[in-house]
């Protein structure tokens, strides 16, 4: 239902609010360089993400996949500077060539919510239960646009319509509890889209939803990204979701990126033993009721990260070098980067 309405709505919206969009092909929209976030003090420093570097091009959808505790969400939050209150963030977050990491809060506020928006995993707990949905959308429009009161209301209705909420005009005065989970997630997206962001940070946007609703939400995000040339960083632990939506995938493990590349390369010819293990543990195209491949062991705790490669203790292809040295992300093949001393292929005999 939203597919038909979306393109026209987006156009009218663009005229009303935004001026110049970043279209440079040469420079990435977002360039994250050597980003590290740690929590706690010097004596007991927990490194949640360690030296993470990646770029996002305009209109691109980047998938950040990994198990829980691998640092996916912290990466997103560090981009927006949301982790600064609790931890130390080092490195550069270049947003259109400006380092967001050294910006003052006042400057950050101009970017947050307007140029970069974020949607969170739990639609139940990230909306304010005491405020109507209309008010929560209006807040964002008020902060980031110069629209008049009546224009804001009109725009709010447009946005709810855009994300596929039926009879949008009547639902502005409803409270979050009057919406179902899928509808609440749509409201979240509507709030995030209110200021027409150029980058959407989506932290597990569909994890709490049913597969049928998941498909609708993913289609919606894909659609909007295409129509508004919006970039997306999609954090997910579901490789299926990543496969169906992303252009590029970055695999995270123990706070580091272990493999980055185009979606087809990563899913068909993964080279890092962790990516291979992750892919093989998905029960797709395997004999029914056969034993599933499972990576031995558990992810390292932040307090006790191995000296060498974080994955070495669980890695079937580990060498002595892996235990002592930490591999850096390096170009492997034409389009992928892998952080591994001993890259494998999915059929290689070493991975049993």
């Amino acid at each position: 239902m939203f597919q038909q309405s979306s393109s026209s709505d987006v156009k009218t919206g663009q005229q009303s609010t935004k001026s110049i969009r970043y279209t440079s092909k040469a420079l990435p929209l977002l360039d994250v360089r050597n980003l590290s976030t740690s929590f706690g003090h010097d004596t007991e420093k927990l490194l949640a993400i360690d030296d993470v570097s990646f770029t996002v091009a305009p209109g691109e959808i980047l998938g950040l996949v990994g198990e829980s505790g691998s640092g996916k969400s912290i990466t997103l939050r560090s981009i927006l500077g949301l982790t600064k209150r609790y931890g130390q963030v080092e490195g550069k977050v270049l947003w259109k060539n400006q380092n967001m990491n050294i910006m003052k809060n006042k400057e950050l506020r101009r970017i947050r919510g307007s140029e970069i928006a974020m949607i969170f995993q739990e639609p139940m707990s990230s909306l304010n239960p005491l405020l109507t949905v209309g008010l929560q959308i209006d807040e964002n429009l008020k902060a980031h646009t110069k629209l008049s009161r009546s224009a804001r209301k009109k725009r709010s209705i447009e946005l709810l319509d855009l994300v596929g909420i039926p009879s949008a005009a009547d639902r502005l005065d409803d409270y979050p509890h009057q919406f179902s989970g899928g509808m609440r997630q749509r409201v979240m997206i509507a709030i995030a889209l209110a200021s027409e962001p150029e980058l959407l940070l989506a932290d597990e946007p569909t994890t709490a939803l049913d597969v049928t609703i998941q498909q609708q939400i993913l289609d919606l995000i894909l659609d909007l990204s295409k129509n508004m040339n919006m970039s997306v960083i999609m954090v997910t632990h579901d490789l299926g979701v990543a496969a169906q939506t992303c252009d590029r995938i970055a695999v995270m493990y123990g706070g580091k990126l272990v493999e980055v590349g185009p979606v087809r390369e990563i899913l068909r010819n993964p080279q890092h033993p962790y990516s291979i293990g992750l892919l093989r543990s998905v029960p797709e195209d395997v004999a029914p009721r056969s034993e599933l491949y499972s990576l031995p062991g558990i992810p390292p705790s932040l307090a006790d990260r191995p000296k060498g490669c974080c994955f070495a203790p669980r890695c079937p292809a580990a060498m002595t070098k892996c235990v002592t040295d930490r591999p850096e992300l390096q170009q492997a093949g034409n389009s992928c980067s892998v952080a591994c001393f001993n890259p494998q292929t999915i059929t290689s005999g070493n991975i049993a």
Binding site: E67, Q214, G240, Q244, P288, S294
Partner: protein, 333 residues
């Protein structure tokens, strides 16, 4: 499947919850309202098989599981266990049934008592059902921990000292401690990461083989259900719309709802795009279930008859049983 071979036989199971009336309802003398969660479920569980149950949230999957273990008193319908009616039993027999049908829950963080060590949890289960004499219990606890591949010193630890996957192993050990015949797994691995999920599923399959368990596997992860189940039932608004062998159902679903649901699971192959149109709209409220076929409002094939009469589950050659007026045409298309 005849009745003799089935271990658990469920006929016409219905369940509804009464909504507490508000002050206005009382003043205005409005009639009580009911959420009809289960509407006539018929099921057979054969010994040693795994039946997968899938559906959207709110369709009644978990209520079905809870009704089967007796967590909700039976309102309507019949459950036969080993050809004996469960509801007509004496207390002692009821207790025996409770022992033989065990449930494992979804959330490993809230389903274990945070103040009891693993040893105490297992000890309680063993002594309540008098599975072993007091002196033999420590030995049995060790056996159980070995069975689910947990270290033996786990017995002295509290639940918070374990990871999610380990906690689900504890839940499995607790369920197995009373030597049940049927395990009801309600979203057992939904809260776990993929690689840990694989470990727990492997364990479950292995235990089923070794102990000859019958499993009702409730989950919303379709890939996983396909992997573990012999047969699969698709539930929509408290009724089974299609039930059949896992292979044929996933390869060639007939009911429009099963088609939409099974195709909605994203494939890990980026070029294998879903071709069927996604379902529009959402699950209608179980407060007022649509007349006729409950799915007709969202169904692309709905006709007049679907609005009027509710289709029965009927067997179709080469497929399982389908509750759809247009099953035959859909099978050909």
């Amino acid at each position: 499947m005849t009745e003799n071979t089935s271990l658990l036989h469920v006929t016409n199971l219905s369940h509804q919850f009464k909504i507490d009336p508000s002050i206005f309802d009382v003043i205005l003398r409005r009639p009580s309202r009911y959420v009809k969660v289960l509407n006539g479920i018929d099921l057979n569980l054969a010994r040693g098989e795994t039946l997968g149950v899938v559906g959207e949230s709110g369709c009644g999957k978990s209520t079905l599981a809870r009704c089967l273990v007796g967590l909700y008193p039976l309102q309507n319908g019949e459950i036969l266990f080993n050809n004996q009616n469960v509801s007509h039993k004496t207390r002692a027999e009821q207790r025996d049934y409770n022992r033989r049908v065990q449930m494992m829950f979804q959330d490993p963080y809230s389903s274990l008592n945070p103040r009891m060590t693993v040893g105490q949890v297992l000890h309680e289960a063993l002594s309540v059902h008098k599975m072993r004499s007091e002196t033999e219990i420590p030995e049995r606890i060790n056996e159980l921990l070995d069975l689910v591949s947990l270290p033996r010193d786990a017995a002295d630890k509290l639940p918070h000292q374990f990871s999610g996957g380990q906690r689900q192993r504890i839940a499995i050990a607790r369920a197995l401690s009373v030597e049940p015949e049927i395990l009801i797994a309600d979203e057992l691995v939904s809260a776990l990461d993929v690689s840990v999920q694989a470990q727990v599923v492997n364990l479950l399959l292995d235990l089923q083989e070794r102990l000859g368990l019958t499993i009702l596997f409730v989950a919303h992860d379709l890939r996983l259900v396909r992997h573990v189940s012999h047969r699969v039932a698709v539930i929509y608004l408290g009724s089974i719309v299609e039930i059949g062998s896992s292979d044929s159902l996933f390869a060639n679903p007939i009911h429009p709802y099963s088609r939409a649901l099974l195709n909605a699971a994203p494939s890990i192959d980026p070029d294998k795009k879903n071709t069927t149109a996604p379902l529009t709209g959402e699950l209608p409220s179980p407060l007022n279930i649509p007349s006729g076929c409950a799915f007709h409002g969202r169904c692309p094939h709905a006709t007049e008859i679907c609005k009027k009469s509710k289709p029965e589950l009927k067997a179709l050659d080469g497929h399982g049983e389908i509750a759809c007026h247009h099953a035959k045409e859909l099978a050909l298309s």
